[in-house]
């Protein structure tokens, strides 16, 4: 193909001849060579043109030969990759491998890149413990200078760790140390468990885990000198051994707190110390105490206060004396708070979680608590807050990096039941409406026998203050055939909540609703209609208005509290019904939680106590819509499963009182992190009791409405599923009344208390 542009230069070539190119056309070759029409070419220019063509990676060989008035460019093209495929890969899927390699379909084939790809695939298999894997790239010629690239893979067997041994460990047995490591010794389930495969990088992690294990038990001089691995001849077994020098175990000696800041008394801070002398030294306890002291300084509004732990060793007694020094930290200010990644949430919704503004003194504890508050919003799958040096030595820039997650859900549905007829339900709920942090939910569902609709909106920063306003309205009518009575209630609710202390909030609310119960004709039990007198009386009262004002005081130290590893929650609420309307009662509820993380924050112990009491006033007697049933308060029992019950018509009547205690422990199951599965144990005790006056069942014998405690114990599996944190509870009722309805298995959402 001859290409003859008219070069007007005095001594330049008047013709450029390009030979050997089948697919790449001349304009592209000239583009790479950087030769433009009418451009003089020196020797350097020729060299650049040559380099340009080589760098393009399109050509196997490139020659540039000036022949008198002509410039000849002779090229031999690399073939183009048509398709890439992998043979023999079982453990790694084609997509995984495609992600690793550089060569791509429709691009130029280059042998060096193919070799590098083979090495990369080999490396991927080695990372999964298959040292013996081999990868060879193969070429299959196609028409018109195109080739197919195939990677032939022989994965080979997994090299597992036959034996994990330790040298120099006196204080702890080999078996105890093996539990500490991430790598496991190949046992019965060798094919299943992946962590018994030998991976070199994991040895470094194991050395660190061993060091932390010893440090947490007072062995301050611990050294893991070596981690050696010998590979058996057939390359499928490895013997790993760790050499340890333990040194002595040190215990806590004297503990003192001293203040080097004038006007700051050390005693108040010293009281927070968790360090008990005589106990083996542990860095976690020291860090905990520092956190508590610095949180107290934050709460008292002190600036630039830092706690320095000064340790003095006395080897004779094997103890470490600890002195917590309150020192004046250096004067560092927050230059800017930069918020990135908020593609949906507005900047101010995140910025208002910070209690310090730009230009304020920098306090690491405050920034950490703000990070917790940002995560507690629930809008982000990940929120990282860290400080980096600012434009001056005494300035710091706080970087907030968030990753949004969808917070809205839209549900459509149409249902057709033989008796209930056609039903349509539309629901839209969004906890971060238009990124303003407002929560909005609208739900309408209609059917021939039941319609329910509700709307609620919450503005967390009403009038720009830390003042949350929520408004709600609902309209529900149920008249199913199999239910024992029809209900209709419609109402609205308004609530304001604001902080009344560093970790406490107060909510004031008013609710007005009309509740109707009607159409109770009893139940057909074995041919005869059995009627429960209580329900019949209540159903006769038809519609009643409830107008109630109420408040809830809540105290929650889990975020703003002093110590990071434990938390206490206490909520007390009262509702006074009787501001007009028919219902007259005072309903009181108390909820308390104590939570603690132990065994360096792997296991969480939790004790929850909830109780409620409705005391009717002035001759008013409660109805089934107001009484407590203990639903989802105690596990191991069905909804309406406990409490006073008419055994003849099998209707639960609920009670004016309920009290429940739940003791839980959550712990890891040792499965890899990414599964998000952990285990739990629980013991639930509680009861629902108390109805006004004597209550009779359908056959006119009295119903026991006394306090009979129920208890259930069980195991649960917690799974952090994509649709939310789920909890599968397997329970056994230890103590129950014979008429109660227990439920050995149920699935609940583990909501935040």
């Amino acid at each position: 193909a001859i290409f003859a542009p008219a070069f007007a230069q005095q001594y330049a070539f008047d013709q450029v001849v390009i030979e050997g190119n089948q697919r790449v056309d001349n304009a592209t070759i000239l583009g790479f060579a950087g030769i433009r029409r009418g451009q003089a070419l020196s020797q350097g220019g020729l060299n650049d043109a040559y380099q340009g063509l080589v760098r393009s990676g399109l050509f196997q060989t490139v020659e540039i030969v000036p022949q008198g008035g002509q410039l000849v460019i002779r090229v031999q093209e690399y073939p183009i990759v048509n398709i890439i495929n992998f043979e023999g890969n079982k453990r790694l899927s084609d997509e995984d491998l495609a992600g690793i390699i550089q060569s791509q379909a429709r691009r130029v084939y280059s042998p060096s890149v193919a070799e590098a790809d083979a090495a990369a695939i080999g490396e991927a298999y080695r990372a999964r413990g298959r040292i013996a894997a081999t990868v060879t790239p193969k070429l299959i010629r196609r028409s018109e200078g195109r080739v197919d690239l195939a990677f032939e893979i022989t994965e080979g067997r997994v090299t597992e760790i036959e034996r994990l041994s330790f040298i120099g460990n006196r204080a702890f047995s080999d078996r105890r140390l093996r539990q500490v490591l991430e790598t496991k010794q190949a046992g019965l389930l060798r094919t299943l468990i992946q962590r018994d495969t030998f991976v070199a990088e994991r040895l470094e992690l194991d050395k660190q885990l061993l060091r932390d294990f010893y440090l947490a038990r007072g062995y301050v001089d611990i050294q893991v000198t070596d981690a050696s691995a010998e590979v058996a001849r057939e390359r499928d077994a490895v013997f790993v051994s760790f050499a340890i020098r333990e040194g002595r175990q040190y215990r806590f000696g004297g503990v003192t707190t001293v203040s080097e800041i004038e006007g700051l008394d050390a005693a108040e801070f010293g009281a927070l110390s968790r360090v008990r002398s005589g106990v083996p030294y542990s860095p976690v306890v020291v860090e905990n105490t520092i956190a508590r002291m610095e949180n107290l300084a934050l709460r008292k509004g002190l600036t630039f206060v830092r706690v320095d732990p000064r340790i003095t060793r006395n080897d004779r007694t094997g103890t470490l004396d600890l002195e917590f020094a309150l020192v004046r930290g250096e004067r560092v200010f927050v230059e800017r708070i930069d918020i990135e990644g908020n593609t949906t949430t507005l900047d101010q919704v995140i910025r208002r979680q910070f209690r310090s503004a730009e230009g304020d003194p920098f306090n690491p504890r405050e920034v950490r608590q703000s990070a917790e508050r940002i995560r507690a919003l629930g809008f982000f799958s990940d929120a990282q807050v860290n400080a980096r040096p600012g434009s001056a030595s005494d300035q710091v820039i706080v970087d907030v990096n968030v990753e949004e997650q969808p917070t809205g859900s839209l549900s459509f549905g149409a249902s057709y039941g033989v008796e209930s007829g056609i039903g349509v339900n539309i629901g839209f709920s969004e906890s971060n409406f238009l990124g303003r942090g407002q929560a909005l939910s609208v739900a309408v569902s209609t059917g021939t026998d039941s319609t329910s609709s509700s709307i609620s909106i919450t503005e967390p920063a009403f009038l720009g203050r830390d003042l949350s306003l929520s408004l709600g309205a609902f309209y529900n009518v149920t008249s199913q055939k199999n239910a024992i009575y029809d209900t209709a209630n419609v109402g609205t609710r308004v609530a304001l909540s604001f902080p009344v202390g560093d970790v406490s909030r107060l909510e004031l609310r008013y609710g007005l609703s009309k509740n109707t119960i009607k159409g109770y004709e009893g139940k057909d039990v074995g041919g005869t209609i059995e009627v429960n007198p209580t329900l019949e009386a209540e159903s006769a009262r038809d519609g009643e208005f409830t107008s109630a004002v109420g408040y809830t005081y809540s105290y929650d130290t889990r975020i703003g509290g002093l110590s990071p590893d434990r938390g206490v929650v206490f909520r007390f609420s009262q509702d006074f019904a009787g501001l007009g309307g028919d219902a007259k009662y005072i309903s009181n509820e108390v909820q308390a939680l104590a939570e603690r993380k132990i065994l360096n924050e792997d296991v969480t112990l939790r004790a929850i106590f909830e109780a409620g009491a409705i005391s009717p006033l002035g001759g008013y007697s409660t109805r089934v819509t107001e009484r407590y049933f203990g639903n989802s308060k105690i596990r191991g029992f069905e909804g309406n499963g406990i409490g006073p019950r008419d055994t003849v018509t099998d209707d639960a009547l609920g009670g004016n009182f309920y009290a429940v205690a739940r003791f839980e422990a959550d712990f890891p199951l040792g499965l890899p992190e990414e599964y998000g599965i952990s285990g739990g144990l629980f013991l639930d005790v509680g009861s629902v009791w108390g109805l006004k006056g004597d209550v009779f069942d359908a056959d006119n014998n009295p119903i026991d409405t006394g306090f009979n405690p129920r208890a259930a114990v069980g195991v649960s599996v917690l799974w952090d599923a994509p649709i939310g944190p789920l909890r599968f509870n397997f329970s056994k009722a230890l103590k129950k009344e014979e008429y109660d309805k227990d439920q050995p298995f149920d699935l609940t959402i583990s909501t935040r208390f």
Partner: protein, 257 residues
Amino acid sequence: CGARTQERSLDSYTAEEIYKQGELELETGRKPEDAIRYFQEVERLYPYSEWAKRSLIMQAFSQHKAKEYEEARSTAQRFLDTYPGDDDAPYASYLMALSYYDQIDEVGRDQGLTFQALQAMRGVIEQYPDSDYARSAMLKFELAFDHLAGKEMEIGRYYLKRRNYAAAINRFRTVVQDFQTTTHTAEALHRLVEAYLGLGLNAEAQTAAAILGYNYQSSPFYDDSFRLLKGRGLAPEAQGDSWLSQVYRQMIRGEWL
């Protein structure tokens, strides 16, 4: 299964026919996706040919039209890698900058894309100064830069509303010093007057108002500053109105100032 059969039939067409089909699809078809597929076929069947080059740039254009911004960017980048010296290169790099620009979001949200748009636009202006895309890149550069100033103002107003005057002053000074050419400078100067007055630094407030008056005589913000300094009330539309309409404006319309 439709795509499978169509693929085989395309092998028999020449590059030009498939390219023309793609162009036709782009003008007439509702969704640009079909056009993209044709252009991809040209590139697969006749790689590195003249038609492959033209279809690569057309592919980037149709992906941009289909609002598939990431794909449009990677296709445009691939064009620039394979045909650096081509006379369509300015258009490809302008298309890349445009894909960032079209994704810029409200001032309240992350402005990472605005930064990338600015850099990409500057790349177009510096690399291809005399191409006709440089002029529209300059225009888009100004708008993106103005948008960045808007972000600083948004944060400044946040602190001003909470009466953290020092934090607000720093943000507004950044706008006055680093974003002088933008449309926000007038408002920044007025906010500085408000903040300095709030702190009681009347001399600084006078200076800020003087600069505002000198450079932005006709801006409504100068009128607000003037009234503030003279102690007269704000102009009606600048003033807050009744409590209830303020709640409506802040909570429903999202104008939180």
